[in-house]
């Protein structure tokens, strides 16, 4: 079931995107995107709302088909035409909208599409595995036999993250995984990202929380209006990052900061 992928060499190039574009009718969501992900590396993908981060993740998850460009996986050009194909190759995803089946319980959702013994499902073994995975994430889930509909937003997010770990993937993509999580759970997810990285997997992390991004990311890739807008490291100054994200050194964030500074000055 959870076939132990012989982890790739640390630093080996897993994923390479060249000139990837995605058109939704008249809307160009992605244009000429380049992205490399190496084994044992956390790549953060940041950008404003609507920058195309989720679209890129969906292209890599096989949910959307790119309209142009090539995707190489371990040096071979691949076609990710269905989510099943991406999962099969070892690309797991936590979607922004989680994509859980509300009418099924936690165990059923975790193992959906990958049940243990398909002709006579082994519920006991699945439940044990479910609890172990959830405990790794410090999950606070009262019962794994309740339908997902009865869980809180953060609990659902934890379930979605646990599900992505189930198949021991080469690359795991997390689209705003900590948006709804509590303090302890966020810390656990960050710990988990580091653990997954140390095991030699690649991680793509999308987050609007720059603190989290800086805490774990090896590289920070900025998307702006569907295009690459620079690659940074955790050492990059906050201001530089913000201006890359918003596209100008003079922006609403810097203006706000300046105003605050002025107010402080007036008070004194």
């Amino acid at each position: 079931m959870t076939q132990e992928n012989a982890g790739p060499e640390k630093g080996e190039l897993i994923l390479r995107l060249r000139g990837v574009g995605k058109q939704f009718g008249a809307v160009t969501a992605l244009e000429d995107i380049e992205l490399d992900v190496h084994a044992g590396e956390v790549v953060a993908l940041v950008g404003d709302n609507g920058a195309g981060k989720s679209t890129l993740v969906k292209v890599l998850a096989g949910v959307h088909q790119p309209t142009s460009g090539t995707i190489e996986y371990f040096g071979k050009q691949v076609l990710l035409d269905t989510p099943a194909a991406a999962l099969e190759m070892g690309i797991a995803t936590v979607f922004q909208d989680l994509a859980l089946c509300e009418n099924l319980d936690v165990v059923a959702n975790l193992f959906l599409g990958h049940e243990i013994s398909p002709w006579r499902m082994d519920e006991v073994q699945m439940e044990v595995r479910a609890w172990t995975l959830l405990q790794e994430l410090a999950a606070r889930i009262p019962s794994v036999r309740e339908p997902i509909a009865s869980l809180s937003g953060g609990q659902r997010q934890t379930v979605a993250i646990a599900r992505s770990l189930l198949l021991d993937p080469h690359i795991i993509m997390l689209d705003e995984p900590t948006a709804a999580l509590g303090v302890a759970q966020t810390a656990e997810v960050l710990n988990l990202i580091e653990r997954v990285r140390d095991r030699g997997h690649g991680v793509i992390l999308i987050s609007h929380n720059m603190e989290d991004v800086r805490a774990v990311a090896d590289r920070i890739v900025v998307l702006r209006l569907g295009k690459n807008n620079g690659v940074f490291t955790a050492e990059t100054s906050h201001q530089e990052l913000v201006s890359a994200i918003t596209g100008a050194s003079e922006n609403s964030v810097s203006r706000r900061a300046a105003r605050k500074l002025e107010e402080v000055g007036e008070d004194q």
């Binding site: 009418n103 099924l104 959906l112 049940e115 398909p118 439940e127 609890w131 509909a149």
Partner: protein, 418 residues
Amino acid sequence: MTQNTQKSTPPPQLDRADARVRHDAGLAGALRGFVDQIRSGDLGMLPVVLGLLLISIVFSTLNPIFLAPNNLVNLLFDAAAVGLIALGVVCVLLLGEIDLSIGSMSGLASAMTGVLWVNSGVPLPITIIAVMLTGALVGLLFGFLRNKFEMPSFVATLAGLLALLGLQLYILGPTGSINMPFSSPLVRFGQILIMPAWVSYFVAIIPGALIVYGSMRTNQRRSAANLSSGGMSVAVAKAAILTVALIFAVFYLEQGRGVPWMFGVFVLFVVFLNYALTRTKWGRSMFAVGGNAEAARRSGINVQRIRLSAFVVCSTFAALGGVFAAARLASASQQAGTGDVNLNAIAAAVIGGTSLFGGRGSAWSALLGVLVIMAISNGLTLLNLSSSLRYMITGAVLAIAVIVDSLARRSRASHGRA
């Protein structure tokens, strides 16, 4: 000191770490859980059981013959064909789809049985296989239309209703009706074959035995895996009630002719589909696609193939139901599968507790629902009511079932149970 107490407490069971959850144990606990479940709108089989009780009381006061053993035996004979069709309907409803052509499919199937077996002399088993393959083919076509053209199944199968009816009339030809020999095994199966008493009694104790054995095994495996196990009291109580009820039912029916083989075969199919839906990956995928098709797709499930399989299963069961209906009536006619067959089958599935909105239901709903539908139809016939009134009442019952379904869904949504 504290060291000591810590050592003596056993490690908490995997699923009992959270103190906020009330863990219902034993019989009282099971009862409390059941009440909670009903309150939150997860009605399960409750409406249908209450409905059956109500129907029995009303009709037996209006006409005592209703509860006579032989009338109930007839009812079971009648239930098998529609029940099989309803079983297929459960599969498409689980996906939130619908098949309106099942009546025509069963009519075509009975016409094919007449033409192939009676008129052309094809051996019966080969005829039945051919009929079922035709059903599967029709299902493939519906699934294909749904998958490739995103044609709503409502429209595709409505077109199928007419086309299959046309085909039925065409192959029956100008005579329009084919009688089947009364001494043939098919007609005997549909009209007189009864299980021997000892077989019926034996079958009646199997479910209870299976429940006890199954829960013993699960409990063992769960405690071996450090999971909580519910104890045996609930299972034993359930099994005891079920066994007593079934034995009584068999005893009562044995006062008349006994349990029809035809009904037994139908129940066998119910058990089989129930296993497929609850214990296999296919069944899990059916529920997932019905609940959230996009999520199912992103989990790597081939949604199109699941849809195809549902339509194929539905049409195949409809075809087999048509063969059963032909056996019951000892004829294939232009009327077969028309009239209320379609709605009876769909109503049976919904009344039994399968949701029209997809993602909820069970194979048992076909069995219980068809008993309700057939009891109503049988009771009204006994009262010598015309079919016009029967149609109106069946229509009203379907409407009530759908209302219950919708209300339960709303209640589940407000209780966070999907």
